[in-house]
Amino acid sequence: MTDAAEEAHAAALKAADAARPVKLACRNVWKLFGADAARFIREHDGRATAAELAAADLVGAVRAVDLEIRQGEIFIIMGLSGSGKSTLVRCMSRLIEPTFGKVEFEGKDLLKVSDAELIELRRHRMGMVFQNFALLPHLNVAENIAFPLSIQGMDRGTREARAREVIELVGLKGREHFYPRELSGGQQQRVGIARSLATRPEVWFLDEPFSALDPLIRREMQDELMRLQAVLHKTIVFITHDFDEAIRLADRIAIMKDGEVIQIGTPEELVVSPATDYVAEFTRDVQRAKVISARSLMRACHGAEHGGTVAPDAKIASFSASIISSGKPFAVVNGSGRPLGEVTPQAVIDLLAGIEQRGATA
């Protein structure tokens, strides 16, 4: 049983979330490969099934994608290789021209801006980090980082000062004069990150930035990204094929398959209520305790004695040890201390053991 006040609180939170302006949006975006693809999709009015595409001999790299990315969130596009995620992010940054649809940057259709405007946008408001770093081999770390500033025509002193700032930010101080090949993969990606931040972009595209790194370095870089985001509050579009990475970093995740987005939601929403078997397949091996919060697992209070209290948003993993050792249910209380329900030790044990059980209120 949820309290009316809690309902209101949750609704208010959602409203606040929704009030955050949409930074970047895709409206029915298509990228088709094949002869006469543009005419085909125009004639079909932006709607076509996979079978129709196949009949017209077209390959749909991105199909009917609708999504909105809000200011300051980490939005992750997750999919296996060939699912179209890289194509989609290149459509969003217009590195690839979409065949159909609209890409809106702060409500303005990105596909209609002139080349000069696009260059301005990219110079000042977008940044991108690449899977294989894409560092320029003939420039050293400082020159690589200052490169985007230098092509804007910024004078040497200013851009070097700015480069020093970001070098410090990503922890590369002392390596300013190294060349890319002298650095490890993790360090090279730090340079890539620093370079993309040098122009103070608002939207930050990260195209599988950590996929080329060792697992240990990858984890370190993920932490680093979270640290940076806590300071910088960028709008981040992050591509990955690694669901664990997505779960760790995401505010929201879009799952892609065969060019389509099949579900968009928070990690918890994906785990608790996967839209399709495909999504369920991904979420199966996830450590659910780290994703699922008390709210999803609680049931109505049965009047038993409580061994402690938790917030509704607390992840199960954060209190699983104490609830099991206490052996008593914990009360779930909202910000004003009002109990919303309880979580039993058995439910936590079942969850940890991987036994399928939805929260009573789910």
Binding site: L95, I119, E120, R122, M128, A134, P137, I151, Q152
Partner: protein
Amino acid sequence: MTIASDFVAPRARPVQAWLLVWAAALGLVLGLFLLRDVLSWTVKYPADAVLPVADWIGAIMNWMKRNLTWLTRSVTAVLGVPLDFALDLLAKGFKFGHGAEAVVLPRLSWVGVCAAAFLAGRAYGGTRLGLLVGGCFLYIALFGKWTSAMLTLGLISIAVPFCILTGLFVGIWAWRRPWAEKLIVAPSLDLMQTIPTFAYLIPMLLLFGNSPVSAMMATAIFATPPMVRATMLGLSRVPSEIGDFSEMAGCTARQKLWRVLLPSARPTLMVGVNQVIMLALNMVIIASMIGAGGLGYDVLLALRALKVGEAMEAGLAIVALAIALDRLSQAMSRRHAEGRVHGDVEASLWQRYPNLTLALVLLGVTTLLSLYVPALASVPKAITFTTAPAWKSAVTFITVNFFDVIEAFRVTLILYVLNPVRAFCEGFPWLGAVFLLALAGWQLGGSRLAILVAALTAFCAATGLWEKTMATVYLCGISAFIACLIGIPLGLAAARSDRFERLITPVIDTLQVLPSFCFIIPVVMLFRVGDVSAMIATVAFAVVPAIRYTNHGIRQVPPALIEAAKVSGCTKRQTFWRVQLPLALPEIMLGINQTILMALAMIIICAMIGTRDLGQEVFIALSKADSGRGIVAGLAIAFIGIVADRLFGAWTAKARAKLG
């Protein structure tokens, strides 16, 4: 019939069908040959049906000469400025005014240049390379070839930047516009690289006269293609992410190209630069025939007077120059490929480029001093020495003492190998050759290849050059065959033993660097002029790719496959015959293809020592400045090369496809 043979039959059928076709075709050609008295026009191309292509081209060239004088004159004038500057700086000294009151500024002092060469080597490859490069220059100075060598170097130093810039822009254009690459650039590159070097000289001679400028133009045309190819290759190899990055950083199209793509492609571009330098050196030597002067001219004069000793000496100076330029430019491109290492930041110019500054200072100081110290201006006679008499006496010794052996070898070769093959080739019906080559083209690459091959072969016959074409084919064929016979086993040996590979690598590196001219000299000393000398020089020149590709082909077989063979119990011999060799075959065939093309290029140059083929035709046309005749013969040579290249290419592609 057993079941097994029934089972195999369907797969064997196409091969058998082709065997039948070939047997029938050969029978047909044999029939033509036997009926040569009745159907004589199929054997010898009828004289009255010869297309006067030579006259047409001659007319066009003459028209151009008459009407484009203003253009050629102005080109000569414009190109002459930097060229004269380089020649004055390195070789001649600057002269202002006329007669008695002329002011003469000295050329760069030889001491300074040698020191600069040493420092350049040291900057890119450490003291060892410095000693090698400096030593080569010192060698040239001490052997009294300084002025000639500097003339050659001056021409190269102007031609190379010209080639690099042209190649870069053409390459960029071709990379940006795929249609241009397909329709214009790729075919012209093919033609430019298969037309013999001599044939370039004729139109240049006609348009620009006998001068360093025409030599430079010919050099530029000959040496540009590798730069075009390197540019296209380098740009297409830049990772797509780097291109994406430049767009996301907000580069304009120009910034993207010049500040991102080209610098990223620099290692590949530097390989192109190395090739341009070596080709330019080769061509400058050959272009001495139309006024380049320098070392090539020394060789030419000596060869004409049959002064072998002096020819040898000039040849060795060319070798020294070639080795110095090659090692230096290779070290530079290697440095770029490895990428840079960070250095001290707060260093002054002197600290950052110690070798460069030192070289500039030394050049300046020695040149200034040479105004007062004559020994610095030109190499003093007292310290030069000549080996010409030694070479001459060595040759005399050999010819006196081993005359019988050498002569027996020569005569046997002529009587029992060269002459019969030659007779066979020259008597071969032209129609039969067209037919058989077209058939081969059809089997290997379909109807388009068949038509191309037939048309190119028919051109050689229709221009009345059939006999000379076949004379070229015979000499080129024999030389390439022998080169493969020597080269492939050497390559196999090198692939099987690391020690042998280490032993042979410097040898083939050096062979590859030497300008083609240099091969002729020692051979002529021993075997005098004629087909035998031509053949031996060609074998020596063309053997390198056979060795190199065979070695590489065997070595690039994936180790996993060899392990798989070992695990399934193959003996060493079985591994070699069953696994390594079949997998290396496409690569080896590529080597054979290269060997044939190099042999063809060399055979043409051997016209200087008295062969009687298309090369001679070009050579005569050159001396008579008969552009039509020379260009047609040059095209015929190019067509031989293209036919061989396309057939082998198709064959290799087929073999590759089979291996997957």
